[in-house]
């Protein structure tokens, strides 16, 4: 059985995505302030966004990152994750149909890659993994498929 934990680059990736979302919300706040003349609402929305972002950045995302555990064996793929509610997903290998690699521009730049494991009526999305880890998992799965 091979076990994996998430690379620190994944935490950085999530934080960068959070920054993009914050930027979009702050632009919206500016638009509300400038075009709709609602300064109080715009400031309130901006403050709430910043507070939530701080909480996510310093508390939630690091804990979510450390909660991820992933293992693969000949019998099954097991994924565990969750901060408040811990969920464990078991996907028996004989039920796996195929695996799909998915990359975005940001994950490509950071040398990461997501995997979607597809079974009948269900799919399991693994968090972004390094390219070496992805190649290793794909070779393990290929052995069970072929």
């Amino acid at each position: 059985m091979s076990k994996f934990k998430l690379s620190p680059r994944v935490l950085l990736l999530w934080r960068i995505r959070l920054l993009f979302v914050d930027l979009a919300v702050l632009v919206l706040c500016f638009a509300v302030y400038a075009f709709f003349s609602l300064p109080d609402e715009a400031v309130l929305l901006a403050v709430i966004t910043i507070l939530i972002s701080f909480w996510l950045w310093f508390w939630y995302l690091p804990r979510l990152h450390s909660s991820f555990q992933f293992s693969i064996s000949n019998e099954a793929v097991v994924l565990t994750r969750g901060v408040f509610v811990v969920k464990q997903y078991l996907l028996p290998c004989p039920r796996l149909i195929y695996a799909e690699r998915f990359t975005t521009p940001l994950t490509s730049l950071m040398g990461l890659c997501s995997l979607r494991l597809k079974a009948s009526r269900v799919h399991l999305i693994l968090p972004p993994l390094t390219k070496d880890e992805t190649a290793f998992i794909m070779s393990q799965l290929d052995n069970s498929f072929l």
């Binding site: 149909i97 195929y98 695996a99 799909e100 690699r101 998915f102 990359t103 975005t104 521009p105 490509s108 597809k118 079974a119 009948s120 009526r121 799919h123 794909m138 290929d142 498929f145 072929l146």
Partner: protein, 475 residues
């Protein structure tokens, strides 16, 4: 392993551009036309033109990066420009392959390819691409066949017409006709209300037979039914089934030719359907549950379009010998007969009471209410007949192969499958069921579409014994 590369046909660029047709391409084209006839310089024209060129460049780049690779043991595809997807699918996991020769594409040397596995969403293919005609020969290696057995079945056109009559629905017809009329109206600057006006003028000729309101609705329903019926006929005629070794290929279509290939082992289950019209004509339709076959809107996963009992038995024995008929072991007991008769009687009284109340309350609409009541009684008669048939014919046969007879809506349905294809067996009992030692059993197939069938009013004790004896399952 060596991989053969298949590149998409350039017509796929148009497919990537199609979402922008009404929001960008046509508005820019109209503005260029306005410029040429001297109607002035539009306000955001330059911006829209830049957007259009960007979209065209992105579409061309997406086409360029769309690839399919076929090797001995697997297929691999890559697609997407910024959001890249790459998947490797073992050939033995491919459930079906679909090729479609559309007339317009055929002129430019293109064929639509789709293939499916048991994974993925029920209404979405795992992979779709328009390929060049010269690459079609490579695609036949996607599903290699084993064995020397060869058989061919050609369905007579009359059987297809029977199937089309029984399987089409007005909803399908309305869903096909309404969007076409709506979009045509948008382009010509006409609204749907003009179409409604022209229909109501035709209906006025029938008002001495049917109440005026119902005649307008019925003409719309008939038009929908006719469109749906003709669409099904053109999609299915002519229909041929070829078996080569363990590979089954169905070929159908008059205007667009469709080839669907699948392995015999990829068949999850067989469904034999007798709709009300089929029951009158003493015919059944046989459909197969294979991932990807019959997936798209208006498509039917037909195996045998229509056949009487004797023809059906012979064809199933020839093509799918493992799915031949079995005698039913477990049927609803005599004490459950009252349940099958109660519902139609109760509905009869409810419809009568509601009809009398509404006729007295809304006297202006009396004719319409009476007409709707007659229609309701006809539907109830069909429902009553089905209830009796369900009592007589429904049941289960267990073993290595399972056969279940029941009903769905107004049709009698028989499902046949291997026991290993069953995903979940659900047995439920209401308090009334427990009192009479009866139960309801629902069987769900382990497949992409998760076909299921429910049999009600079975003897609970007998069911427990049957599950224990056949599969060593104790409940």
């Amino acid at each position: 392993m060596t991989e053969m590369e298949i590149r998409p046909h350039p017509v796929m660029i148009l497919k990537f551009l199609s979402p922008y047709l009404f929001v960008l391409i046509l508005p820019v084209a109209r503005q260029i036309f306005n410029l040429k006839v001297g109607r002035g310089f539009p306000r955001f024209f330059i911006l829209e033109l830049i957007l259009l060129f960007t979209v065209i460049i992105v579409s061309v780049l997406k086409w360029h990066r769309y690839r399919l690779y076929i090797s001995d043991k697997y297929v691999r595809f890559t697609k997407g420009l910024f959001f890249r997807i790459e998947a490797t699918i073992p050939k033995n996991r491919i459930a079906s392959m679909f090729l479609e020769k559309k007339p317009l594409l055929w002129f430019i040397g293109g064929v639509v390819l789709r293939f499916d596995t048991e994974a993925g969403k029920p209404r979405k293919n795992d992979f779709q691409m328009t390929v060049k005609v010269k690459d079609v020969s490579l695609l036949f290696t996607l599903l290699p066949f084993k064995g020397n057995y060869f058989k061919h079945y050609h369905a007579p056109t009359l059987k297809i017409i029977i199937m089309a009559l029984a399987n089409t629905s007005t909803t399908t017809g309305l869903l096909i006709a309404a969007p076409i009329v709506n979009n045509a109206g948008k382009l010509l600057g006409k609204s749907m209300s003009d179409i409604w006006v022209s229909i109501s003028s035709v209906s006025s000729a029938l008002e001495f037979i049917i109440p005026p309101i119902a005649s307008t609705i019925s003409i719309i329903i008939l038009i929908g039914f006719a469109v749906s019926f003709l669409s099904t006929v053109f999609k299915c005629v002519p229909f041929d089934l070829y078996i080569k070794g363990d590979l089954i290929t169905s070929v159908s279509g008059l205007i667009s030719k469709r080839y669907t290939s699948f392995k015999r082992e990829a068949i999850n289950n067989l469904i034999i359907i007798k709709s009300p019209i089929m029951r009158i004509l003493r015919h059944s339709t046989v459909k197969v549950n294979v991932a990807g076959y019959g997936k798209h809107k208006g498509e039917i996963a037909v195996f045998i379009p229509a056949a009487n009992k004797r023809e059906l038995a012979g064809l199933i024995e020839d093509f799918l010998p493992s799915m031949v008929s079995k005698p039913i072991m477990l049927r609803p007991p005599y004490r459950s007969l009252r349940r099958y008769l109660t519902q139609p009687f109760v509905l009869f009284f409810i419809i009568s009471l509601v009809s009398i109340f509404l006729s007295n309350r809304f006297t202006n609409f009396k004719d319409f209410i009476e007409f709707m009541t007659i229609i309701s009684f006809i539907v109830l008669a069909v429902f009553g007949e089905l209830s009796l048939k369900k009592y007589v014919q429904s049941g289960i046969a267990f073993g290595e192969h399972v056969a279940v007879l029941s009903s769905r809506k107004f049709s009698l349905v028989e499902l046949r499958c291997k026991f290993e294809k069953i995903g979940v067996i659900k047995i439920s009992q209401t308090p009334f069921d427990r009192k009479h030692n009866l139960c309801k059993m629902k069987l769900t197939i382990r497949s992409e579409s998760a076909d299921s069938i429910t049999v009600a009013n079975l003897d609970y004790s007998e069911l427990k014994v049957a599950l224990l004896n056949n599969y060593n399952i104790a409940i």
